[in-house]
């Protein structure tokens, strides 16, 4: 086990290093110098150069890379070019939107997917199963931003139940904030729920064909009891893996939805960073997201190895 752990740890560090180099290099080749962009057309070369210096855009590339990585490791994500504030602060501020939105969407999609997946697995091959599977086919085919627009047309413009966009913040209490996040969360949850339902269904079907379910049935449990007591827990492993991955992707993957609803989330921060050439924001936030995915994958792999010794090869 120590040897396995060491080799996984080595590949974790290597992945992080390669990812950081790739992100750094890609951001460097983005055309458009941030300093020139910020100073406008009338700036003299001297002032642009001075700004470049104060932004830390001068000096050899490897040195700037090390400076950036060193900062990231100590929690310093750099200073935004346009907002002139630490990127870490911006990220924390945006997470107040993105994190609740992601959790909200995942709760909704789980509430939908768990019962639907269980129903489909229990009624496998029959009407209910076909209906659920048909719905998931539709769910994965609907672009979430289009679904978001339809939700706005119906629930915001016609029925006027919920706001069409914008976010009031958490200052006015929990309710106004949740109201603002409801339509975006529903839009994000739909395709996720479709995928989750399918994973839930196939994991349950897989588990139900195992011998220990037959044993449970033989000792007198009903099919429903066997599913709840023994099947569900085993089927949850792949479901939780997917949930974990969806979480890290939803955090940034909401870019388009955040644009539809004018939400000041993490995705919009990156999007604005790209369009305003606020490259340090792009660089640090993308690195943060990639690192999150890599670390989550690592943790999942490790958890599996702990449970299943066969995987420690």
């Amino acid at each position: 086990m120590p040897r396995y752990l060491l080799s996984r740890l080595g590949s974790l560090v290597l992945s992080l290093v390669v990812a950081s180099v790739v992100i750094f290099v890609v951001v460097q080749v983005i055309p458009g110098d941030p300093a020139t962009f910020m100073m406008g057309l009338n700036a003299t070369p001297d002032t642009v150069e001075a700004l470049r210096h104060s932004l830390g855009l001068t000096g050899p590339l490897p040195l700037r890379y090390l400076h950036w990585v060193g900062g990231m490791l100590t929690g310093d994500l750099g200073t935004s070019y346009t907002y002139r504030v630490p990127v870490a602060g911006l990220v924390l501020q945006r997470l107040q939107v993105s994190l609740p939105l992601t959790v909200y969407a995942m709760v909704l999609s789980s509430l939908l997917a768990f019962p639907a997946g269980m129903l489909a697995a229990a009624r496998r091959g029959r009407g209910a199963d076909l209906a659920v599977m048909g719905a998931t086919q539709l769910g994965v085919a609907v672009p979430n931003f289009w679904f978001a627009m339809l939700l706005v047309i119906v629930f915001a413009l016609r029925l006027r139940w919920l706001p069409a966009g914008g976010f009031p913040g958490w200052g006015g209490g929990l309710w106004p904030g949740l109201r603002g996040l409801t339509l975006p969360a529903v839009a994000l949850a739909l395709p996720q729920a479709a995928i989750l339902t399918r994973v839930m269904r196939s994991a349950l079907i897989e588990t139900l064909s195992q011998d220990f379910i037959r044993t449970a049935r033989a000792k007198g449990l009903s099919q429903g009891q066997a599913v709840r007591r023994h099947g569900l827990r085993n089927a949850l492993i792949p479901v939780l893996t997917i949930l974990g991955l969806q979480f890290s992707f939803l955090l940034a993957g909401a870019i388009i939805i955040e644009n539809v609803f004018y939400l000041p989330g993490l995705g919009r921060l990156i999007f604005q960073g790209i369009t305003q050439r606020d490259l340090i924001v792009v660089q640090s936030v993308v690195m943060l997201l990639v690192a999150a995915v890599i670390v989550v994958n690592f943790a999942v792999e490790l958890a599996y190895a702990l449970v299943d010794p066969r995987l420690r090869r």
């Binding site: 990812a19 983005i30 413009l157 870019i255 997201l289």
Partner: protein, 268 residues
């Protein structure tokens, strides 16, 4: 049944795209301000947009954009991914295999939409750069599928016989492995094709895909966003086109998989 429904749905949109080269109900870019924002009628089947352009004609030409972007993106993924997957399988357990696999894991760790936005903003928004951005993320998908299929083949007797006969790994991969993973690739290709259409729509929606005057479903949706109160039907038709095409391709992919591998039918 899914197979046929999928084939018909996907076929309709491919036919629409092809037909648009020779005929559309109106020239797709022809503006007619006097006729703007009309609901569907006998003359304009799906109505007109804010410039009085015919929505049906725009949809037909938009199908062309979506299909072209998705096909080339799948081509890039297959072109680079399949050889990598074959190579990894042929050298299973070696450092080459390890590098290819870990490289794939790494690409999967990147938020694809963010990177696609980054790429299109580096090289400028255009259909070509959207293709590149989508295609790059297809590479590890095809590499993984190819490797997975190929590895089980390498243990079979006829491959051992080929090795004993003195054939090299590369030749075995091309002559014996590739034809036998082709059905896997066709199925995966259909799925990536539909994902490509969704990705193109998303990129165009935020203004980073095909540029005006080239119509694209995603941009039609973006244009309709500000007109949702006035003309909600403008948001309806391009979205339906995307849903039906993607649905058709997914059903087609699932159907093909069942057809080629009847064993899966029992597991499903």
């Amino acid at each position: 049944m899914g197979l046929w429904l999928g084939a018909v749905l996907a076929g309709i949109f491919v036919a629409m795209a092809l037909l648009s080269f020779v005929w559309t109900p109106f020239p797709y870019a022809a503006m007619d301000i006097a006729q703007k924002l009309r609901p569907p009628s006998a003359a304009h089947w799906l109505g007109t947009d804010q410039f009085g352009r015919d929505v049906a004609a725009q949809l037909m030409v938009g199908a062309r954009t979506s299909i072209a972007v998705a096909i080339v993106a799948v081509g890039i993924g297959m072109g680079a991914g399949v050889p990598l997957g074959l190579w990894a399988a042929a050298t299973r357990g070696s450092w080459i295999d390890e590098v290819i696999q870990r490289g794939g894991d790494l690409v999967f760790a990147f938020p694809s939409l963010v990177i696609a936005i980054l790429i299109t903003s580096v090289f400028g928004p255009s259909a070509v750069n959207a293709i590149l951005a989508i295609g790059i993320f297809n590479i590890p998908v095809f590499a993984r599928v190819t490797r997975g299929g190929a590895i089980s083949l390498w243990t079979l007797d006829y491959i051992r016989a080929a090795r004993l006969a003195g054939k090299r790994g590369a030749r075995i991969s091309v002559e014996h492995i590739l034809p036998n993973v082709a059905n896997l690739l066709i199925v995966q290709g259909t799925i990536q094709f539909s994902l490509g259409i969704l990705a193109e729509a998303g990129l165009s929606y935020v203004g980073l895909g095909a540029q005006p005057p080239t119509p694209s479903w995603g941009r039609m949706l973006a244009d309709s966003h500000t007109l949702m109160g006035l003309a909600p039907q403008l948001a309806l038709f391009p979205g339906l086109a995307i849903v039906l095409t993607v649905l058709g391709l997914n059903l087609l992919g699932d159907g093909l998989r069942d057809l080629m591998d009847p064993r899966l039918r029992r597991q499903a």
